[in-house]
Amino acid sequence: MNTRQQSKLIYSWCGKPMSSDRKLRTSQYKGILITSESSRTETCIQLGDFILVEGVNADQPYVAQLVDLYEDGAQHKRAVVQWFCRLEEIPQNKRKLLKREVPAQEVFFDQVLGYDTDIAAETIIKSIMVLPLHLAEELPIITLNKEQTFYVKQSWDGKCFKVLSPDIFSKLKEANRKRGVITNSSKAFIPSDILTPVKKEMESVVQSATKPKNVDMGIESKHSASKSSLAKERHSQRVADNDIKTPTAKKKLELNSPTRSKGRILGCEVLGLLDDDCGAIAPLQPSATKRKVKFSSEILGSPPKIPCSNDKSKSTSETAEHCQRLSDTVRLSPYTKVKDFSEKDKNLHGKDDNLSLVRYQKLRIQSPPLTPRSRRTCAQKTSALIAEQISLLKSHGKLAAEEGFLSGSDSSYSSSSEEEDDDVPCTPEKKTKSSRIFSTPKSSRKPAVHTPAKTPKKTPLPGTPRTPRNATPEIPRRIQAAQEPASVLEEARLRLHVSAIPESLPCREEEFQDIYNFVESKLIDGTGGCMYISGVPGTGKTATVHEVIRCLQQAAENDELPPFQFVEINGMKLTDPHQAYVQILEFLTGQKVTATHAAVLLAKLFSTPGPKRKTTVLIVDELDLLWTRKQNVMYNLFDWPTQKHSKLIILAIANTMDLPERIMMNRVASRLGLTRMSFQPYTYKQLQQIISSRLKGVKAFEEDAVQLVSRKVAALSGDARRCLDICRRATEICEFAQQKRTPEIVRMAHVTEAIDEMFSSPYVNAIRNASLHEQIFLKAILAEFRRAGVEEATVQQVYHHHVALCRVEGLQSPTVSEVMAICSRLGACRLLLVEASNKYLHVRVRLNLSQDDVMYALREE
């Protein structure tokens, strides 16, 4: 923070200790006094105040609330805080759960258990304000000290977002009130008499391990809303966000939560979400168009799942019904209320179909940039559904789009598009598109017609801005869907492709276990460490390590392990060893800085005790490429884990076993430590096992053929990639042979052919197909070598032999120019090694293959 750089701050206790614990020799205080030396200002921060705490990223200090202040036995000033987290601190893939745009001033009440809440008091920077707000409330316009005011709407517990529970809400408000800051924005919204009975329920929901999605609340609230005509304002808020606390909603939750929270998996939740989003929009249609504008804009920022659901709901009510049916089957407990709700919803939906259509389209265009990764899982689940509806979509799409377009009022669109633009600031290129489309009614027709042609599968991938100009790294979609393998051989070939990752890695169980144990123990201890993994190419080093990480991540998700961050860099994919810093920093904090600056930041990050930092697992692939003359990159990498507070685990991968001894300086090698592991090349039995495990269930290979391949490869290199490639080639040869005869499986002959193709030396063949004079020239070289006894000759010497040979053969002897041409041609094929040609006749020539090979090739004639 700037203030810290400018002046030194002195921390002292404010007042006398409130209480002291003799045993622990701690004494508690109620305030801390921060005195700035240069500006001579004093600030007193008291318990309950909100503060900024120094963090990883200097520009974005952590936000916290001071809970306790004490001095421990060693006279260190300590503080206990309640964290708030910024959006940046929430993992990318979780952010989509939020389903809305979050302004920079918004923070989340942090309920993640892993973070250390006990910090050094010296890391406190200054006090700020954090105002609790209700979900639907807009941020009040802040006029002064924008930097120091934050807002909190929801809480975050590492898995999902929740609305602030009432007691937290009131506590936060209390804290503010104490400071005399009462905002009119957070006016009394929840009557206290309703609050009290529900509080307990709410608490239990928050703390229950299964964490039922607040979606259900949303459903209920909507349902009740449609019945009891509440104020319109509230209504829209509730529906838009799916999870506001109204008395009715909570009561419903009370009824349903026990059963539902159990038998539910994530996929169902996602589906549920989908349906709700569909449904949520429908009942709102009759409400005034004014409302619509705001409503749509709110949704736009949010749900990633909408594109899918849109497709469904667009194809009129029958698809909507379909959705509901699906959701019903998914839900374990029969849930009648949803059903009649959906019935109602359907009717409404049908009526307002035309109106809603246009909006859906808009949504579709808007939401792609926000679609997060897990959409894919959702897409998979619903793919069966989608496939059915593609055809429907196509026929209906065009018609529906036009209808919708005509029925909608243009003015509302243009205004809504403006709002959208405000809501979606992070996707500039999409934004311009949408504004162009909707502000002019004419052009809106075009995309409307176009969009149905896209199949749901092909919705663009998430576009997080990477380059300064926010270009989306993306390959154009393919227009036709990829064909699925038709025959057994094709299926086999698909499975044999190196990229087809098997569920488990056969023959590497031991190594897997070792690495897993290593990382796991370090994770549990919260310490750092290094491991060096070596092995020749194609022995599954990277695959095994990735598998380990995957398992660990799964374990972390199930709360068996503390959560950790995973960063991977590949020496080969870096343009310069120093770029490693940049990439690591980008993974960790999302900043983009130069290499030197990144190194400084990282060093600071790993050497200072960060209160909220998770353990980082760093995989360094192709370590030898990170070698520099001073080796400072490697030195730093291996030095960080030895720091006390680093919490960094490094898995370094390279090919050579003795890399630390060979190229590293002593001080680097010693920091790398002695935890080594080497992957032995696969034996033929292991290769055989790998192939057969991949081919499980597909009868495409003869047993002997597999054995031949694995023996051959094991004898040469033990490279699993090579092995798979040979098998793949063999299937192709077999397939070709199949065209003439009856279908068959891959036999020995095919495999042998494939092996020959891959391992045959090209030289002999090349010599045999060379022209006559080229062959004579080679003969002349051999003769010259024999005469001189040295394996090197000048062209002049060879030329004399060449002419003599031509005379023997009765051929016209070539001129020097022609001989030079022959020589350079053979040189281009690298049959000969030739010097640079400016020496003309005195160019030295050498054979690139053994004399015996040449003799053999020439004698065959």
Binding site: M572, N769, L841
Partner: protein
């Protein structure tokens, strides 16, 4: 080979399978021609399938054809940096602004990798990378580009096919071991394995006029003539000679070009003499030709050098030695030769140096006197003798001196 490549590419397009292959063959064996042919076939086929599926695709090609040709563009794509920008430009990714790519090398690489990683087998459209003169890419630092391309082709990312064209037989040994491991080891070898009969056939095919030639009667006449030519003995000799030297079809074109360009209105048909003349031109020795244009003094110097070569068995010589040799000849033998001053001889010697008929062993330095700079003759004695035979108005004593080598002493 054609079929193999076609199958390979088709699989990438249709199944979204990633592959890599190398096409290896000597120069002029039709590597690029093969690839282009396959791509043409592929495009036709694509249209057929498209029509069947009724997906309107006009405007958008299902795959992008990248042509990166470091050979033609000279030194432009000599490092990965330029190649990378070229890829980005050809892929038309979003950071391209008007055919230009901005950003640093590291950024571009990260961007491209990110882009390719996003794709998966089923959704993104396959990309074909054609690396012409593959061997030049091998020499790039760390082979970063190749590693990344092959790595993508070996992992579940955007379907990619990498095709390399090269003439080097030892290309695989140049790949680094981890790059090699990622390469699928599909190699397609192209050889000029035809014999002389096929060669004649190709010759006929190249010369004959196509059926759609406007003047039909002339085409008839011309084609008949070509047929006659191909059976003519002298023509066959010329072709045989060339065939023995090289099977490269480009050199056949080089031979035919001057012959065909001799055709005029008055001389409408190709004759055997034309071809013979072209063949002779084709096989002439360039250095011997230069000798024809030298003065007598320069010829004498060359002969002196030749003798020195004979005496000292190819050891290098300097100007002083040549001058002494020349002086000996003038004093004892020459009747018709004028005794030139040393500076004049020096001038002639420097002329030979400029023509690169002699070449200094090391670079001329300031310290060494020019007279004592060690030189080597870049002509063979047989070449000198041949050149002297056809040299016009050569004095007889010079000829004798050249032939007699040591006996005149």
């Amino acid at each position: 080979q054609h079929r193999h490549l076609l199958e390979l590419l088709k699989r990438t397009m249709v199944h979204g399978e990633s592959n890599s292959a190398l096409i290896i063959g000597p120069r002029g064996s039709g590597k690029t021609a093969l690839l282009n042919h396959v791509l043409k076939d592929l495009r036709e086929m694509k249209q057929v399938t498209e029509n069947l599926l009724e997906v309107h695709l006009n405007g958008k090609e299902n795959c992008q054809f990248l042509m990166k040709n470091p050979f033609l563009s000279g030194l432009l794509q000599t490092n990965d940096k330029v190649a990378l920008k070229e890829i980005t430009r050809q892929l038309q990714l979003e950071n391209v602004v008007g055919d230009k790519v901005f950003g640093s090398f590291a950024e571009n690489l990260a961007f491209l990798l990110e882009a390719l990683r996003r794709g998966d087998r089923t959704s993104s459209c396959p990309i074909l990378f054609v690396l012409d003169e593959f061997d030049l890419f091998v020499h790039h630092k760390n082979q970063t580009l190749l590693y990344n391309l092959f790595d993508i082709s070996q992992s579940a990312q955007t379907p990619v096919t990498v095709i390399g064209l090269t003439c080097r037989q030892d290309i695989l040994e140049l790949l680094e071991k981890r790059v090699k491991s990622r390469f699928s080891h599909r190699q397609i070898y192209l050889m000029n394995s035809f014999d002389f009969k096929q060669y004649i056939k190709i010759f006929k095919k190249q010369l004959s006029l196509p059926a759609e030639f406007p003047d039909e009667s002339f085409a008839q006449k011309w084609n008949n003539n070509v047929q006659h030519l191909s059976e003519d003995k002298t023509v066959q000799d010329v072709l045989q000679n060339l065939f023995h030297h090289t099977k490269d079809l480009r050199s056949l074109h080089l031979l035919l070009m001057p012959a065909v360009s001799a055709v005029t209105v008055h001389h409408p048909l190709l004759t055997a003499a034309d071809l013979q003349e072209a063949g002779r031109q084709h096989s002439t020795d360039s250095k011997a030709n230069i000798v024809h244009g030298l003065s007598v003094l320069e010829i004498c110097l060359i002969i002196a050098m030749k003798h020195l070569n004979d005496v000292y068995d190819g050891e290098p010589f300097n100007f002083q030695m040549v001058y002494n040799e020349f002086q000996k000849f003038i004093q004892r033998k020459a009747h018709s030769m004028y005794n030139f001053e040393k500076p004049v001889v020096m001038k002639a010697f420097e002329h030979l140096l400029q023509l690169e008929l002699v070449k200094p062993l090391e670079r001329p330095s300031v310290r060494a006197q020019r007279e004592y700079l060690l030189m080597k003759l870049l002509l063979d004695s047989s070449q000198i003798m041949d050149a002297l035979q056809v040299y016009p108005n050569c004095p007889t004593d010079v000829k004798q001196w050249a032939a007699s080598s040591l006996s005149w002493l």
